[in-house]
């Protein structure tokens, strides 16, 4: 069987912080290939550059060297606003602190992703996705009326509604208790696989990593098998 092309490809990524002699390399030639439907866990000590890796992969930050391709497209070769539009279409983001827009309801937060990706989605699909994630009765509530686990599910729905190629999750269970965290991880990995979405999961948790197809560690600015 022919192997599919990676939907996410990172090559020789370098990112430094600081200036002059105090400059510190956070990423120093990181490389990664992720296939469609594959789930990859990235682990590492605090400050090892895990979040930086995700931000570069999403096109939210510029590398000092290296390349990021999503579905074959060089993300950083594109200027703004094309880069942002590409991210809106092809990438789904899940954050540790959920980062829902507080002035919008859960449904509106999900619709936001549709609007930003400049696609159209049948409202029934939102209801179906909400049902899949167990939040179908919470869609008219605002974030401050939801528990942490519920907010994170809404965030996952927002990340998946527009059928992205890549799903990037930055410690999605970091603010949740164990039980809520387990539930969120289950729906996250399941939903990503069901859609053939490449999932990169940054996590401290071995249990979370165990749900993924591969586990990598970020050491000295590079990704190595854990």
């Amino acid at each position: 069987m022919a192997e599919a092309d990676p939907v996410l490809r990172l090559r020789g990524l370098v990112r430094r912080y600081g200036e002059g002699p105090r400059q510190v390399p956070v990423l120093d030639g990181a490389e990664l290939d992720v296939l469609p439907g594959e789930a990859v866990a990235v682990m590492g000590a605090s400050g090892s550059g895990k979040s930086t890796l995700l931000h570069l992969a999403a096109g939210m930050d510029r590398p000092d060297a290296g390349e990021v391709r999503i579905a074959g497209v060089d993300v950083h070769a594109r200027p703004e606003p094309a880069r942002t539009r590409e991210r809106a279409r092809r990438v789904g983001l899940v954050f540790q602190d959920y980062n829902l827009i507080e002035s919008l309801t859960a449904r509106e937060n999900i619709e936001l992703a549709v609007w930003l990706s400049r696609s159209t989605v049948d409202p029934a699909r939102i209801d179906a996705l909400a049902g899949e994630l167990g939040i179908e009765n919470l869609l008219e509530r605002r974030p401050d009326q939801l528990s942490g686990g519920q907010q994170q599910r809404v965030a996952i729905a927002r990340a998946l509604i527009h059928e992205p190629s890549v799903l990037l999750a930055d410690e999605p269970t970091g603010s949740l208790d164990r039980r809520a965290g387990d539930q969120v991880l289950d729906v996250l990995v399941e939903a990503a696989r069901a859609r053939g979405c490449a999932l990169v999961l940054v996590t401290h948790s071995d249990e979370a990593a165990a749900r993924c197809d591969r586990v990598l560690a970020l050491r000295d600015g590079r990704l190595v098998p854990a």
Binding site: A58, M60, D61, A88
Partner: protein, 815 residues
């Protein structure tokens, strides 16, 4: 979706939206009020002429007062003479309101000269049979101002005492502050037989008038009068405009301060939106649309408030406009649609302009960094450049360009540059204070402010600048008042001043006054306006009087010697500035006896008007000025007190019935009256200073409230950790007091800069008056700083009360 994002946020934070609206509305209200006021100052003069005699009529007036009846008769008999309409103008007061009675031949004005129907139908009602009070017509604006209706009887205070009039008819619009009567009835009622103030003629008679008008009479069209009014009031209007623009700038700082806070509050949302796909363009469009809406609503509110403010300000300037310029202010401002439209656009553009730096900050940082941390502060060299460049440009502009606009523009640039330095200096002061205050709650409260440096910086700048402007204006006014006081006291060397209210004194009367035993010497003053509009004052001065002049150019002894020998003239400072005159220059004057050239001997300080005048030795002058005198100064014999002099004067005047109308006044009373005029004149400046101060308070309240809202989670954390509600209350109040005190301390040196800019550059260039450079008065500091502290503390009570009442859990959930 964009609208939903904006609407959702502002629905949850209505207070901050309201503060931004108030900021722009307050600034726009002041700009609108002053813009309407400026127009009213120019329109005041010719409102009556325009209404009574039409746009193209010509007004003929005597250079030195009323037109003698024989002169009128002579003019009327000349071959080809137009149909003259004699007009009598009488200044009157009703309950403290300045008005004017206009007496004219109503039938003539209506039929032959009138361009509109101002008096149509009212002419018959103004005939008087002699029964009851004489009738007058009143315009609707004036009736509204006085709160009277037709058929009411009005008691007016005229030149010779109280007079009753019956309001027999309603005149048309345009007769603000004026009552119209038949001229003969007015002459009788006010005991001014045969008195004529001016003659009106149709515009078609212009050619005849230019050829036949005798010396001593001047003819001006309505447009020339309007130009004269514009010129007369140019300085006052420029000052008002400058203050209104300063108020707008302060209001915009409030808007910027609030928008910056909103940006900080929404930074996380912006970061998320940018992360999940909102392009920079979309974000910018969203913010610009919000500021468009803010600018539109704020400007509309400002236009409404400003229209109401204009009528209030008009009431403040009515007296000084009458006293100084001899004009009557309108009863109400008359807004034009085009002016409203222009001001609306100004407000919207200003709101967008203020949003631009906020939007740029929102767009500058990549989404990843925005989600994680705040953007990096400006490098020091950039900050110094942002401060130094506008300050240098402003100072250079003032130095190079001598126009008023350069002074105002230069001051704006200097203040803009200083505004960028205020926050680092202010927070430096707070750091020192926080360390010195020790480990207790007060010290902690102050040190916590350092963590909000970037967020509080715009508010600190806004508040400091507004306080500085209010204090600086106050310093300028008080310093100028002290200068005027010194000038008046120095100038008035005589022990008593004698004059007749409605006429000039003859030489024989002056000789009789000089013959009084207690009188050692007399000075005489005669004033008239020349054909080219120059004010000329002829003096006879004893030796003691010369010390009263404060010479700004020319050697005092040489000036006096040259003056008394008739070698030249002296010029007051405003006139010298207006015409660029200095000692040695030649000055051509169209005197009644013919055009003559004089050398300018010296320039002296004069605050009596912003037009200035020429001083000449009366003995070198022929004609009326040589023969009559407007005022006599009596210098007492050494050792004789004022009371003795006054008794002898009263006895001398009582002995001669022909001098029974002479009045006298002492220098102290003249000084008091002069300062009263000054105070009335600058009431509007105080009003503007109070308005700017009020906007400063809005800036303070907005900053402190927003700071309080921003820190809600932090305060909730402190409460959760064990801080008692009373301690939290104290912490917030200490923080607001510390911020206010820092702003006030920063404001003081900036206020001194504003004071010197106003006193040394703007006043001279606007009015022609220079003020001796000296230490600024401290009264404004003593008043404004404590008031700001009290109000700052009060402003802190609102967030303190709200946050203190809130359960800690709710605050911890807030984002």
């Amino acid at each position: 979706m964009r609208a939903r994002l904006s609407h959702g946020f502002f629905r949850r934070h209505p207070g901050q939206w309201l503060l931004a609206l108030i900021g722009i509305a307050a600034g726009m209200a002041v700009v609108t009020g002053v813009a309407l006021l400026r127009g009213a100052l120019v329109d005041s003069l010719d409102a009556a002429s325009d209404a009574l005699a039409g746009q193209d009529s010509i007004a003929v007036r005597a250079a030195d007062g009323a037109i003698a009846p024989e002169r009128f008769a002579e003019l009327a008999r000349l071959h080809g003479a137009p149909d003259w309409v004699p007009v009598l103008r009488i200044p009157v007061r009703v309950g403290g309101v300045e008005l004017e009675v206009v007496g004219l031949d109503t039938f003539s004005a209506v039929r032959d000269v009138a361009g509109n129907a101002s008096l149509g139908g009212a002419a018959d009602a103004l005939e008087w049979t002699g029964d009851g009070p004489p009738p007058a017509a009143i315009g609707p604006e004036t009736a509204g101002l006085l709160g009277v209706a037709t058929d009411a009887v009005l008691t007016l205070e005229g030149p010779s005492g109280p007079v009753e009039l019956r309001l027999a008819a309603a005149a048309g619009t345009g007769l603000d502050r004026r009552l119209v009567m038949d001229i003969a009835v007015a002459q009788h009622a006010f005991d001014l037989p045969d008195t004529i103030s001016e003659l009106l003629a149709p515009g078609s008679a212009r050619g005849w008038i230019e050829q036949n008008l005798p010396d001593g009479l001047q003819a001006r069209t309505l447009e020339e009068q309007r130009a004269s009014a514009r010129e007369l009031t140019a300085g006052l209007r420029a000052n008002l405009t400058a203050m209104s623009l300063l108020a707008l700038a302060t209001g915009l700082f409030v808007v910027y301060s609030v928008l910056s806070f909103l940006m900080v509050q929404r930074r996380r949302s912006f970061g998320v939106l940018r992360a999940i796909g909102l392009t920079p363009g979309d974000l910018g469009r969203m913010l610009i649309q919000e500021s468009l809406l803010l600018g539109a609503l704020g400007s509309l509110a400002g236009l409404v408030a400003g229209t109401l403010l204009a009528d209030l300000l008009l009431g403040l300037i009515a007296d000084p406009v009458r006293s100084i310029y001899g004009q009557l202010a309108l009863a109400r401002t008359e807004p034009a649609l085009w002016l409203y439209a222009a001001l609306f656009v100004l407000g919207v553009l200003a709101a967008i302009a203020v949003t631009v730096p906020v939007v740029r900050e929102a767009l500058r940082v990549p989404p990843g960094r925005m989600v994680r941390a705040a953007s990096a502060p400006l490098p020091k060299r950039v900050r110094w450049a942002l401060a130094g460049v506008p300050v240098a440009l402003g100072l250079a502009w003032v130095a190079v360009d001598g126009r008023l606009v350069a002074s105002l523009g230069g001051l704006f640039l200097v203040l803009a540059g200083l505004a960028t330095l205020l926050p680092p200096v202010g927070f430096g002061l707070l750091s020192v204070a926080g360390r010195r205050a020790g480990p207790g709650l007060t010290g902690r409260a102050v040190r916590l402010l350092d963590g909000s440096r970037r967020r509080l910086a715009p508010a600190l700048s806004a508040l400091s600048l507004a306080l500085a402007l209010a204090m600086g204006m106050g310093m300028m006014i008080l310093g100028f008042r002290a200068s005027v006081d010194d000038w008046v006291q120095r100038l008035l060397r005589a022990d008593l001043y004698v004059s007749a209210p409605e006429r000039a004194l003859a030489v024989e009367e002056v000789e009789r006054l000089a013959a009084i035993d207690a009188v050692a010497a007399v000075s005489t003053v005669s004033a008239q306006r020349l054909a080219d509009g120059t004010r000329l004052t002829a003096y006879r001065l004893p030796a003691r009087a010369w010390a009263g002049f404060d010479w700004l150019a020319g050697d005092p002894d040489e000036v006096r010697a040259g003056f008394e020998q008739g070698l030249g003239v002296a010029v007051s400072e405003p006139l010298a500035r207006a015409r660029g005159l200095a000692p040695g220059d030649a000055l051509v004057l169209p005197l009644p006896g013919g055009v003559r050239q004089f050398e300018v001997l010296g320039v002296f300080r004069d605050y009596s008007s912003d037009a200035g005048f020429v001083a000449i030795d009366a003995d070198r002058l022929g004609g009326r000025l040589a023969g009559t005198v407007d005022s006599v100064g009596l210098y007492a014999v050494a050792g004789v007190g004022r009371n003795t002099l006054q008794r002898q004067l009263e006895a001398a005047l009582a002995a001669d019935p022909q001098t029974s109308d002479l009045q006298w006044i002492g220098p102290r009373e003249i000084r008091d009256q002069s300062l009263a005029v000054f105070d009335r004149t600058f009431r509007i400046s105080w009003a503007m200073a109070v308005l700017v101060g009020g906007i400063a308070l809005v800036a303070l309240v907005s900053a402190l409230l927003a700071h309080g809202f921003e820190r809600a989670r932090e305060y909730a954390t402190l409460r959760a950790l064990g801080l008692a509600p009373t301690q939290l209350f104290r912490l917030i109040v200490v923080q607001t007091l510390a911020l206010t005190l820092a702003a006030a301390m920063l404001a003081v040196p900036v206020a001194v800069v504003v004071h010197y800019a106003l006193a040394l550059f703007i006043q001279p260039r606007a009015f022609g008056w220079s003020v001796p450079a000296g230490l600024p008065p401290i009264e404004p500091i003593v008043v404004v700083v404590p008031l700001a502290l009290v109000l700052g503390a009060l402003a802190g009570l609102i967030p303190a009360a709200r946050i203190g009442r809130r359960p800690p859990a709710d605050g911890l959930r807030a984002r």
